[in-house]
C-alpha cells in the first residue's frame, strides 16, 4: 500500500488524441483521481450548417480517419430520416458490408497495434515485430484485407465516396463480390491465428469487474447482432429498445470540470459503449464462429470487466467476416441491379445511429425547405465512455494500490486503452525537430 503516490500521465500513449491520468495519494488516502480530457472541443456541427443535405455525409466523413465510414453512414441515415428517403434492400446490404469492413479495419488496428503491446509487455508494436513477427504480419495482413474491402464498397479506404442519401453512387460487380467473398473465406484461418496469439497472452488481461450499464443498438426484426439497424438498449432497460429519435434521452450529455469533452449517463451515473456493450446486449445473435471465439476466451454475456473489450472486438472480427460471407451469398443469389437514386430537398429533422467500432454514434440534422442544413448534433462514442472510465478508475485504484507505481500506472493506462478511445478524431500533424 502506497502512503504517498503521485502519477501524472500527460497525454496517454496508444490512444487517439490526448487524455491525462492524474493520481494523488497522501497518507494512504486517495486525494485526487481523474481521467482528464484537456483537448479543445471541436465544433464540427458548425461545419455542416448551410450545406446541402447531399453533402453532409462527405463533410462529416472527414471528422475521423478511423470511423469515417461510420460517421458517413450515421449522417446518411439521419438525412434519409429527415427527408423521408427510402433505401433499397440491395443498397442496405451493401452499406452493411461497407460498415463491416470498417469494423474489421478498426478492431484489427486496436487489437494488433494498440492493445497487443500491453499484453506482450512492449512499449509499442515496433519492437513487437522482433518478438512476434508472424503475429504482427498476420495482423497487418488482416488489416490490409479490411482496407481493400473498404476500397471496393466505399470507393476509398477512409472518407468514403460512394454513399449518398437514398443509396450508393457505385456498386461492385458480381465478380468483385465473389472475389471479396473468397478473400474473406481465406481470412478465417488468419483470424484464428490472431485469436490463438491473443489467447496465449490472455492471462495478462487484468482481473477486474465493476457492474456497468452497457448501451448499444438492438435489432429485433429480424433479430440480428446489429451495428446498423434497430433502437437503443441497455442491460438496465429490460430488453426494451428506445427509438433512435429519442437518443437525447439516452445520452443525457453534461459538462464536467475535469474534461473539455462532454460526459453521458442514462440509468446510472455512467455507461459504457463499444464491443463489450454490443456483446453483452446481443451475444446470443453472434455468428457461430464468433460464438466459438467467445467461448474459447471464456467471454460470457454479463461480463463487466472492461479489459475484455479487446476480446469482444476480436469476437466481432469473426462475426463481421462470417456474416459478410453470407450477405454476399444473398446479394449474388438475387443478382446485383443498377439502381437509380433520386431525392429532392424538403424541410425536416431526423436522427441516424450506427455502431462505430468503439461504440454507438448519434447524428441528428435539421433541414430547411431548400434542403440546407439548419442545425446539427453529433454525439460520439468516446465521449459516452469518459464517465465510465472515471468510475472504473475509482473502483480499480483502491484494488491495486499495493502494487508498484509502475504497475498502477500501466493498469490505469491499459484500462483507458481497453475502451479504444478516439479523443480527437481530427488532427494528426507532425511536430518535428531537424537533427541534421
Amino acid at each position: 500500500m502506497h502512503n504517498n503516490l503521485d502519477i501524472n500521465v500527460h497525454h496517454i500513449t496508444r490512444v487517439e488524441g490526448h487524455g491525462n491520468i492524474v493520481v494523488n495519494v497522501k497518507n494512504g488516502k486517495i486525494e485526487k483521481l481523474q481521467w482528464q480530457v484537456p483537448e479543445a472541443p471541436r465544433f464540427f456541427e458548425a461545419m455542416v450548417r448551410g450545406h446541402s443535405y447531399q453533402d453532409i455525409q462527405t463533410i462529416v466523413s472527414r471528422i475521423c480517419g478511423i470511423c469515417s465510414i461510420t460517421h458517413s453512414l450515421a449522417a446518411t441515415k439521419a438525412v434519409e430520416s429527415a427527408l423521408g428517403i427510402n433505401v433499397s434492400e440491395q443498397a442496405d446490404k451493401l452499406r452493411i458490408l461497407m460498415h463491416y469492413s470498417e469494423q474489421l479495419q478498426s478492431h484489427t488496428l486496436h487489437i494488433g497495434y494498440l492493445a497487443a503491446p500491453d499484453f506482450f509487455g512492449t512499449p509499442s508494436v515496433v519492437p513487437l515485430v522482433a518478438r512476434a513477427a508472424d503475429a504482427v504480419k498476420t495482423i497487418v495482413k488482416a488489416h490490409r484485407i479490411a482496407n481493400t474491402w473498404s476500397d471496393l464498397i466505399a470507393g476509398r479506404t477512409t472518407h468514403p465516396v460512394t454513399l449518398i442519401p437514398g443509396g450508393l453512387t457505385r456498386i461492385p460487380t458480381e465478380k468483385q463480390l465473389r472475389e471479396l467473398q473468397q478473400t474473406l473465406k481465406d481470412a478465417v484461418p488468419d483470424l484464428k491465428k490472431i485469436a490463438e496469439v491473443v489467447l496465449s497472452v490472455a492471462a495478462n488481461v487484468p482481473k477486474f469487474e465493476r457492474p456497468t450499464e452497457y448501451v448499444s443498438l438492438k435489432q429485433t426484426t429480424p433479430p440480428t447482432y446489429t451495428f446498423y439497424h434497430g433502437g437503443v438498449t441497455s442491460n438496465d432497460n429490460k430488453g426494451a429498445a428506445v427509438p433512435i429519435e429519442k437518443w437525447h434521452d439516452v445520452a443525457n450529455e453534461y459538462m464536467v470540470e475535469q474534461s473539455t469533452a462532454k460526459w453521458a449517463k442514462w440509468h446510472r451515473d455512467a455507461y459504457a459503449v463499444g464491443a463489450l456493450a454490443r456483446f453483452n446486449n446481443n451475444a446470443e445473435l453472434l455468428s457461430p464462429m464468433a460464438k466459438n471465439a467467445a467461448k474459447t476466451f471464456g467471454l460470457q454475456k454479463g461480463c463487466c470487466n472492461p479489459f475484455m473489450n479487446t476480446v469482444a472486438q476480436l469476437v466481432e472480427c469473426f462475426h463481421v467476416v462470417e456474416t459478410s460471407i453470407e450477405i454476399i451469398d444473398q446479394l449474388l443469389t438475387k443478382g446485383l441491379k443498377t439502381e437509380k437514386v433520386t431525392s429532392s430537398p424538403k424541410a425536416g429533422k431526423g436522427a441516424g445511429c450506427v455502431e462505430a467500432p468503439r461504440g454507438i454514434l448519434f447524428h441528428e440534422y435539421e433541414f430547411d425547405k431548400n434542403g440546407k442544413c439548419a442545425a446539427a448534433d453529433i454525439c460520439i462514442p468516446t465521449n459516452q465512455n469518459h464517465a465510465n472510465i472515471q468510475k472504473d478508475f475509482e473502483k480499480l485504484l483502491p484494488e491495486i494500490l499495493d502494487q508498484s507505481e509502475k504497475d498502477i500506472r500501466l493498469k490505469l493506462e491499459m484500462l483507458v486503452r481497453s475502451y479504444d478511445p478516439c479523443i480527437s478524431c481530427s488532427t494528426h500533424f507532425l511536430n518535428v525537430q531537424f537533427v541534421r
Partner: protein, 156 residues
C-alpha cells in the same frame, strides 16, 4: 481481391480538410489528380486522416512521397523537403498513436516488415491556421502553385 498492378511511385496527401491548413496535403493531391495523365507511373492518394493506412499505401513501392502539414517552427507557408532520417518527432520515440499517426514510426514499422520503399520523401508545409474551416489560409492558398512545382521536381 484487387489485382491491379501497383504503380512504382505513390504520392500521399495527409490532413484534415475540416481544419483549414491542416488539409494542405489533401488539397495538393486534388490538384495533382487533375493532371494524372502527365504522371502515368505515379499514384496520387488522398489519405485524409487515415494515418495508419499509410503503412499499406507505401508497402512494396519503389518510392513514396508524403505531403503533410508539419509544424517545423518555420514561417507559415514554408515548404521543406526532408527524408525520415533528417528529423525526429517531438513525440516520444517509443510510442505509437493512430490518429496522430506518427508517420515516422509507420515508416519504421514498414522497414521492420521488409516492405518499405527504397526512397521516402516528406514535404512538410508550415501551417498558418488550424482553425475549423474548409478553406486554406491565404498564405497557403497563394503558395499552392509553388508547392506543386517543388513536388513535381521530385516526380520527374
Amino acid at each position: 481481391m484487387d489485382q491491379t498492378p501497383r504503380k512504382d511511385t505513390v504520392v500521399i496527401g495527409l490532413g484534415n480538410l475540416l481544419m483549414s491548413d491542416e488539409g494542405i496535403g489533401v488539397h495538393l493531391i486534388r490538384k495533382f489528380s487533375e493532371h494524372q495523365d502527365k504522371f502515368p507511373s505515379v499514384e496520387f492518394i488522398d489519405a485524409g486522416t487515415g494515418g495508419m493506412n499509410v503503412l499499406h499505401l507505401i508497402a512494396n513501392r519503389k518510392k513514396a512521397v508524403i505531403i503533410d502539414c508539419v509544424k517545423m517552427g518555420k514561417k507559415p507557408g514554408t515548404i521543406k523537403r526532408f527524408e525520415p532520417a533528417d528529423v525526429q518527432t517531438t513525440k516520444k520515440m517509443m510510442h505509437f498513436s493512430l490518429h496522430e499517426a506518427d508517420i515516422l514510426r509507420i515508416i519504421e514499422l514498414s522497414g521492420q516488415l521488409g516492405e518499405c520503399p527504397d526512397k521516402i520523401v516528406i514535404f512538410g508545409i508550415e501551417p498558418e491556421s488550424l482553425d475549423l474551416g474548409q478553406k486554406l489560409s491565404k498564405t497557403l492558398s497563394d503558395g499552392i502553385d509553388a508547392y506543386s512545382l517543388d513536388i513535381c521536381k521530385e516526380l520527374c
